[in-house]
């Protein structure tokens, strides 16, 4: 009897299991059948007769929060455009999300922009690791990922046609500095001091195209982290000093350039510094208080350092682009109205005006493909505040590919900082341009773009 009851318990159990599974399957199928079919929308996402919605992910907080003034300046340009009839009759709405410079948060925020905010395009988002994280997703959905604020070579690839960068590629930076070093310091021993990631790797790629391998005597790197900054650069600087390098090329972010200069000063090492455009703004290097304090400091070493920049500095108030940007942003960006314009805000202004011109060129019948086509066809002709025209074409998705060399100089008009005044810059030689691939560094002879009358008259 017991045996039987156990047997029947098992059978009951099996029956129960079958029942559960069957119910679940049938239930799901029935519900799926009755579920609402998603009506395919024929119109372009994010575009209505009266509006265009755009999105950007930016490090508003966190380690890269010093860049949090770029996107508001871009938004201010859209406010200016909207106040003057919008673009082809449509108002531009920009949603700025904070990704804290953290790739996983960038992924979530970008999904939110696409799925919830229903953006037409992602424009001017910042960061190499962060934008790499969402590049396949945006390209997979054919959402334009335009004018990324990063100089990675990765934005111009046939694998991801919906992406494009804005900053000068780090390899171009490296080539232009490399050609200067090869010409002006030939025969000298050269040392590299680079960031240990794609920024440094790309820059070295460019430097090696121009500088003879035999003259490079030491290659030192650092990791861009707070811990590494606190630990200091003694061993790297000492290694460069021991190698006898008379010229040191730095592909580093501003705080590490400053730290390098003070460390070298402490060790009594006085090479000629050649600094990548990422740290081309002396005001960014000078921001840490350590540099403005009395000797031994890095100021003396930085005096005479060669650096590069793609456009005018914010303190060059005679430059018409700086003038028009300051005027427009003072009206539409409360931060600029309060504290004056910064280099980042100048970048944001240029970015916003680029987006505006691209949307305008895409015409009344706005589609994502139409926008890409317009950039490929007209991108070279969009007015910009840099010294070279944009490089955009159907195959090249880089913005700037040129730099003006500068010499940091204690006698030039100093830049005023919260920590005191810091040295200024004076231009050196002509503007150079080149591509990240093989090919020579060439001189750019034409003048900077004129500010379009439509902009200067309404700003």
């Amino acid at each position: 009897m017991k045996r039987f009851s156990l047997h029947s318990a098992r059978r009951r159990a099996r029956l129960y299991a079958t029942g559960v599974v069957a119910c679940a399957v049938v239930g799901t199928m029935a519900l799926t059948a009755s579920g609402p079919a998603n009506a395919a929308s024929v119109s372009t996402p994010g575009v209505t007769a009266t509006s265009i919605s755009l999105g950007a992910t930016e490090p508003l907080t966190g380690v890269a929060a010093n860049y949090n003034d770029i996107a508001p300046a871009m938004k201010a340009v859209f406010a200016w455009a909207n106040a003057h009839g919008g673009v082809n009759g449509r108002q531009i709405n920009l949603t700025i999300d904070d990704d804290q410079y953290t790739p996983s948060i960038t992924a979530t925020m970008t999904h939110q922009l696409v799925l919830q905010n229903n953006i037409f395009a992602d424009v001017g988002s910042l960061g190499t690791p962060t934008q790499l994280q969402v590049q396949p997703y945006l390209n997979g959905l054919k959402v334009p990922q335009l004018f990324i604020l990063s100089g990675c070579n990765c934005w111009s690839s046939s694998k991801y046609p919906y992406s494009s960068g804005l900053q000068t590629p780090y390899t171009v930076d490296g080539k232009i500095l490399g050609s200067y070093v090869a010409k002006n310091f030939s025969g000298e021993k050269v040392g590299y001091f680079t960031q240990d990631d794609e920024f440094g790797f790309d820059a070295i790629k460019g430097l090696n195209m121009e500088i003879k391998g035999s003259s490079v005597v030491s290659k030192q790197t650092y990791v861009a982290s707070t811990a590494a900054y606190v630990a200091g650069l003694q061993s790297q600087v000492a290694a460069l000093q021991a190698s006898g390098a008379k010229v040191v090329v730095l592909a580093a972010i501003p705080p590490f350039v400053g730290l390098f200069a003070t460390t070298a000063a402490t060790l009594g090492y006085t090479p000629q510094l050649v600094i990548d455009g990422v740290a081309g703004d002396p005001s960014a290097i000078g921001a840490p208080a350590a540099l403005t304090t009395p000797a031994p400091n890095g100021q003396a070493l930085l005096n005479g350092a060669i650096t590069e920049a793609g456009g005018a500095f914010e303190d060059q108030t005679s430059n018409p682009w700086v003038r028009v940007a300051t005027k427009l942003l003072t009206k539409y960006d409360s931060e600029v109205a309060k504290n004056g314009i910064t280099g980042d805000e100048l970048t944001g202004f240029n970015l916003g005006y680029l987006v505006y011109q691209a949307l305008k060129a895409a015409g009344k019948n706005l589609t994502r493909q139409g926008l890409l086509n317009a950039i490929a066809a007209d991108g070279k002709n969009f007015a910009n505040s840099g010294f070279v025209p944009y490089s955009y074409s159907s195959t090249v998705h880089f913005g700037f590919e040129g730099e003006q060399l500068y010499k940091m100089s204690a006698t030039a008009t100093p830049i005023t900082l919260p920590t005191g005044t810091f040295m200024g810059v004076t231009p050196v030689g002509p503007v150079y341009y080149t591509s990240p691939g093989a090919g020579p560094v060439k001189v750019w002879h034409s003048a900077q773009d004129k500010v379009p009358a439509s902009l200067s008259s309404t700003a």
């Binding site: 239930g27 966190g62 804290q100 694998k159």
Partner: protein, 380 residues
């Protein structure tokens, strides 16, 4: 009130429905209820919310594996982000080089990370406490970094692409992806639930509680620990592969150290050793950094350096306070409430153990003793 209580007591004395006693059946019926609930939920939600539900699902998978390793087997791991990277990259490499369906790709991702887990698990058997934490920390830091060293194979900084799987045209892609991820989560929970009720589960717990006693009882301690590590790493690998599907690609920056830390914190806050508690942990991991912490920061206008770290700060605070107030995590606290409510309505005023969802030890002891007495009865 008295009336109601009497009625409830009457019902409790003669329940109209009892969950089946066999673990497989019980877990299947929980899963069936979950399937219906999640189906309606994903139908109701927007595409972006479906994406978030999918994220919760893959964190559930990772947390379930971690809770088995730490909560049940007593080995701590700070390296689960590294195992997730192994799973993610395995899937991406398969996508790149084969034309297979997503199911075998996920399966191979599990196997690969389980093998890597075994490799790490073998030396781990000799380490304990902070030493084990230190060693597994190296996994979290080192494995993603390795992919940068061989960039022609792993795609360098740009990494590899893992396109989102597309289902039938009538179902939107986010919902389809969420279903795949939820299905994986439910299957993992059912299987782990059964595993914990099996001989293996009992050995895991025995080793956790007292290794010497366990080996005296005939349990191969080292083997048990390695098996726990493998199963746990396999779960993390699956989670990493599912994460890759959500993200659309894998690269080393996708698996930072913070993922491993979040997992550990999420597991403890959800309820260490509880397979149901992992849902709370996963919800916290998904919503705290991207949604709750930023809105809190906005509301109180904290400065930018603080607000970026607010999620980590809150995790830390909740961990400390939680350990003092509710050592069993959220799930433990809920169970505590359920037991009290059950006691109020039970006919004799004592907690009904069946109703209370009591954690395994007591519950299992009852089951085991029953099965022993049954087996001992002559004529069975």
């Amino acid at each position: 009130m008295g009336e109601l209580r009497k009625k409830a007591q009457g019902l409790a004395a003669k329940p109209w429905f009892r969950m089946p006693r066999q673990p497989m059946l019980r877990h299947l019926s929980y899963a069936a209820v979950a399937v219906v609930f999640l189906y309606f939920l994903t139908q109701k939600l927007s595409a972006f919310n479906d994406y978030e539900v999918g994220e919760i699902a893959f964190y559930v998978v990772a947390l379930a594996g971690l809770t088995l390793l730490t909560g049940v087997n007593g080995q701590i791991s700070l390296g689960h982000g590294g195992f997730m990277a192994v799973g993610g990259f395995t899937l991406a490499l398969l996508v790149e080089h084969t034309k297979w369906n997503v199911v075998p790709e996920l399966a191979i991702a599990i196997v690969t990370s389980a093998l890597v887990g075994a490799l790490i698990g073998i030396p781990a058997t000799r380490l304990r406490g902070p030493y084990l934490a230190g060693m597994t920390l190296m996994v979290a830091l080192g494995l993603p970094y390795l992919t940068n060293q061989y960039d022609s194979f792993f795609g360098g900084d740009q990494g590899l692409t893992t396109p989102q799987p597309i289902g039938p045209a009538s179902i939107n892609p986010e919902q389809w992806l969420a279903w795949i991820q939820l299905a994986c989560a439910l299957i993992v929970l059912i299987l782990l639930g059964n595993l914990l009720r099996s001989r293996f589960g009992r050995s895991f717990r025995a080793v956790r509680d007292d290794e010497i006693a366990a080996s005296l009882a005939g349990i191969h301690v080292a083997r048990t620990k390695v098996i726990a590590f493998m199963v746990s790493a396999g779960c993390a690998g699956l989670a990493g592969a599912l994460l890759a599907l959500s993200a659309g690609g894998v690269n080393s920056a996708e698996f930072p150290l913070s993922i491993s830390i979040y997992l550990l914190a999420g597991m403890v806050i959800g309820g260490t050793g509880s397979l149901m508690g992992v849902w709370w942990g996963a919800i916290l991991i998904v919503y705290l950094p991207t949604s709750w912490a930023p809105s809190l920061a906005n509301h109180f206008h904290v400065n930018s350096q603080v607000s970026a770290n607010l999620a980590v700060i809150i995790f830390g605070l909740v961990l400390v306070v939680g350990m003092l107030v509710a050592p069993g995590g959220i799930q433990g606290a809920l169970r505590w409430v359920a037991v009290r409510v059950g006691a109020y309505f039970s006919p004799d005023g004592v907690p009904n153990m069946k109703l209370s969802l009591q954690e395994a030890p007591t519950d299992r002891a009852v089951h085991d003793s029953e099965s022993v007495t049954q087996a001992d009865k002559p004529g069975v």
